[in-house]
Amino acid sequence: MNPKRKQRLLLVLLGVSGVTIAVALVLFAVRQNINYFYTPSEIAGDMAPHDKTIRAGGMVSNGSVKRVDGTLQVYFTVTDFAANVEVLYDGILPDLFREGDGVVVIGKLDDKGLFTANSVLAKHDETYMPPEVTHALEQAGQTTTSNQ
């Protein structure tokens, strides 16, 4: 093989092996780290996996926020007005977290149906609604209308 073609072959091999390793790495990493979103109705219908990190979202039910005295633990209920999910969070709630407003929680569901959140996302200004919450409410709206 002449040196020029040998070099070209080397380049191609280097490129192909690099890209293959990269694709394998990306696919492996993405399988570990995708978080799916479930609406409260889907969670109530037992469609969501347990003990796996998922996202859930809806409105914080009015009057549902309860603090545990002397700690930063807080319980609240997330609803899509068709079903509720009980959420436990230990930490600092975002500034715009309020009863009656939209929220997205990321965490794990246990076998008793309690959702332990490791982070809570609220809207970041007065008018913005997290798209996933809108989606959850729409879904719930659709299911209630189709049930009627």
Binding site: L14, G18, V19, N35, Y36, R67, G70, I92, E126, P131
Partner: protein, 651 residues
């Protein structure tokens, strides 16, 4: 009347952009020099009318002209003047005006500083920029008119700027970032012009290189400013979130970094020519993709976007035309690019090639992670999000490889390097780095983290190699000083940028692994201990700002008996929009930041608070490193050979 002049001026800019896009290009294709010469005039006309429109918009913001709809939505008479000023680009329409304004500024700088370019190449470059300006001005005029009015009864008061944006960060971050984004259009225009004219001689890349470096330096600073702003303004101490908006600026940066390296090979060795052209096309395409992601509303929801599709579709159209058009041009003309010359595996060329592969792979992995949720949304799969761990895994693994290779690659000669005599150095440096990285953090903190060990080992490895690079240069010289001078600014630019990378890496590794964060419940007079620090919550006071009220915490931080910081976190309430903001109290030095945020009041009198206390070691190194990288990029273009190129061309 002023805003109408603004709109009129914008329309004129659009018309001239049309001429610029068509006339000189016709001249280039038809080889008619008289038409090529028109490019200069049209470019200046576009710049002039763009500046007038931008200035009028700024004027409307600064003088509180609430009859202009975006002013009434994004400003308020209570705002200090500098926030009124920066509010101009704190909204969609204004930021697009700034985008095109910067594009036209790049245009006229090309025409000013590239005086010795051939008329043909200059006409082609300006024309390609004209096409881009035409597209974006059309976008502004048809979908995002910044001068839309609320008449006949303008509101008496504006609804205020989002409090997060009322900050020095917003004054600086978007213009710097946009300079970088838009700056890649020049490298792109040079690449496309080379494809159009079919001239791929060395002068093409020599001309294009300084522009790429400047754009890259701006983008580096812009990203760093964004990260810094998020760090202190969002109130919780995060400095990188792998958020789609951040990724949108990071992808062009990665490709741009690959591009400045491959352009170096193209200039010095006349190799990788078609690869450099392709990377230039990619870099700008990623900039446009970033603009699309941020500006179309597609991130909020693909379906929200399709229900009001004008803006998104328009940018998508520009994006598609640019990518498809330039790739077709590339496919047709790339065979004309002739490269000659060879290099061995142990050579600077091959290590730069590996650098390029790694950077491009990271960029596409980030692209994949950013677009996957959008694809899921588009095809009605279950909604999903790709968490930061995905990006961290990919980025960290590939960066480990990249830094390990950098330690070797930056020392090698072009073409062929005999490594035999170097093995002792590599073994000594490698072993030394591994040992120091193990011992140093252990003795200082008493903790062992394998990530810290690995990260610091790479840092010391590259530092060893940087030192070696200087020693090598001084070997054949009488004195160190003369060697330093002889090395040339190109070398020092590279050296500084790589040092910056090492410093940023140090910051990332240490703050990501050794930071301490805990939430406490605190009332006035309480004190808590955390990691050798004692935080004393002295009191809460009431504050009155220009457009907000706040509770201000007074926290003293002690280490042993010595007071090391006094910090004042705030909880602000902005009346106009009724929004709440957490303003962190930060007390820092070069080696660590103390970061205190007041989270929520836990009683009705607002005297007991949940507080988040953090100690963040070496966090500032992250941004210092970025400043050095940008400085390196700028320094290398002041190298003699670029000035010689200017003189040589004139004679």
């Amino acid at each position: 009347m002023f805003p109408e002049f603004g709109l009129f001026s914008l329309i004129l800019a659009w018309l001239f952009a049309f001429f610029l896009a068509v006339v000189p290009l016709t001249g280039v294709i038809g080889k008619r020099e008289s038409l090529q010469r028109t490019a200069l005039g049209f470019a200046w006309a576009v710049f002039f009318f763009n500046s007038v429109a931008f200035a009028i918009l700024i004027h409307a913001f600064v003088t509180d002209d609430f009859s202009v709809s975006i002013v009434s939505q994004n400003s308020n008479s209570l705002l200090p003047w500098y926030y009124k000023f920066s509010a101009t680009w704190g909204n969609h329409e204004g930021s697009m005006i700034m985008w095109v304004f910067m594009l036209s500024a790049w245009m006229v700088s090309v025409s000013l500083f590239a005086q010795t370019l051939t008329t043909e190449l200059k006409a082609a470059v300006l024309s390609v920029l004209g096409i881009i300006a035409f597209g974006f001005l059309a976008f502004i005029l048809f979908t995002s008119n910044p001068f839309a009015r609320i008449l006949p009864v303008p509101p008496a008061e504006g609804s205020d700027l989002n409090p997060l944006l009322q900050d020095i960060g917003l004054i600086l971050h978007p213009p710097t970032l946009y300079m970088g984004y838009v700056g890649f259009s020049v490298a792109f225009a040079f690449a496309v012009s080379a494809l159009i004219t079919g001239r791929f001689d060395a002068s093409w890349v020599r001309w294009s290189r300084p522009w790429t470096n400047i754009a890259w330096a701006f983008l580096t600073l812009g990203i760093a400013l964004g990260s810094w702003w998020a760090y202190y303004e969002l109130g919780w101490g995060g400095w990188w979130f792998w958020d789609p908006v951040e990724n949108a600026s990071f992808m062009p940066w990665l490709i741009g970094t690959a591009l400045i390296h491959s352009q170096a090979v193209t200039e010095k060795r006349n190799l990788f020519k078609s690869w450099s052209v392709l990377l230039a096309i990619f870099a700008f395409s990623f900039s446009l993709l970033g603009t699309f992601l941020v500006r179309s509303g597609v991130l909020t929801s693909v379906h929200a976007f399709t229900s009001d599709p004008n803006r998104g579709l328009f940018i998508l159209g520009i994006l598609g035309l640019t990518i498809i058009g330039s790739l077709i041009l590339y496919a047709i003309n790339a065979h004309k690019i002739k490269t000659s010359g060879q290099f061995k595996l142990a050579s600077r060329e091959s290590f730069i090639l590996m650098n390029n592969i790694l950077l491009v792979v990271i960029a596409f992995a980030v692209l994949f992670g950013t677009l996957l949720p959008l694809l899921a949304d588009l095809f009605h799969w279950r909604k999903l999000s790709v968490g930061p761990p995905f990006f961290n895994v990919i980025f960290n693994i590939l960066m480990v490889v990249l830094l390990a290779l950098l330690g070797i690659g930056q020392l090698l000669r072009w073409k062929k390097h005999n490594l035999k005599s170097w093995w002792p150095f590599f073994i000594a440096a490698g072993a030394g780095a591994i040992v120091i990285a193990l011992v140093l953090p252990w003795t200082l903190t008493g903790q062992l983290h394998w990530q810290v060990w690995l990260g610091l080992a790479l840092v010391f490895w590259v530092i060893g190699s940087l030192v070696k690079a200087i020693l090598d240069r001084s070997q054949n010289n009488a004195s160190m000083m003369s060697a330093m001078r002889k090395a040339g600014l190109g070398f020092w630019g590279m050296w500084l940028a790589h040092l910056g990378l090492v410093i940023s890496t140090t910051g990332v590794v240490l703050v990501a692994n050794l930071d301490i964060e805990r939430d406490f419940r605190m009332a006035a007079g309480d004190s808590v201990e955390m990691d050798n620090y004692r935080f004393v919550f002295d009191q809460v006071s009431q504050q009155q700002g220009p457009n907000y009220t706040a509770q201000k915490g007074h926290v003293s931080v002690f280490r042993g008996d010595r007071e090391v910081a006094q910090v004042n976190p705030e909880k602000r309430y902005y009346q106009v929009k009724g929004s709440v903001m957490t303003e962190a109290g930060i007390g820092g030095n070069l080696f660590r930041d103390i970061y205190v945020s007041m989270a929520e009041p836990l009683n009705d009198e607002r005297t007991v608070w949940s507080m988040r206390l953090q100690v963040k070691p070496f966090v500032r190194w992250l941004w210092f490193g970025a400043i050095l990288m940008a400085a390196g990029g700028i320094l290398s273009i002041t190298d003699k050979r670029y000035r010689m190129a200017v003189k040589g061309g004139r004679s």
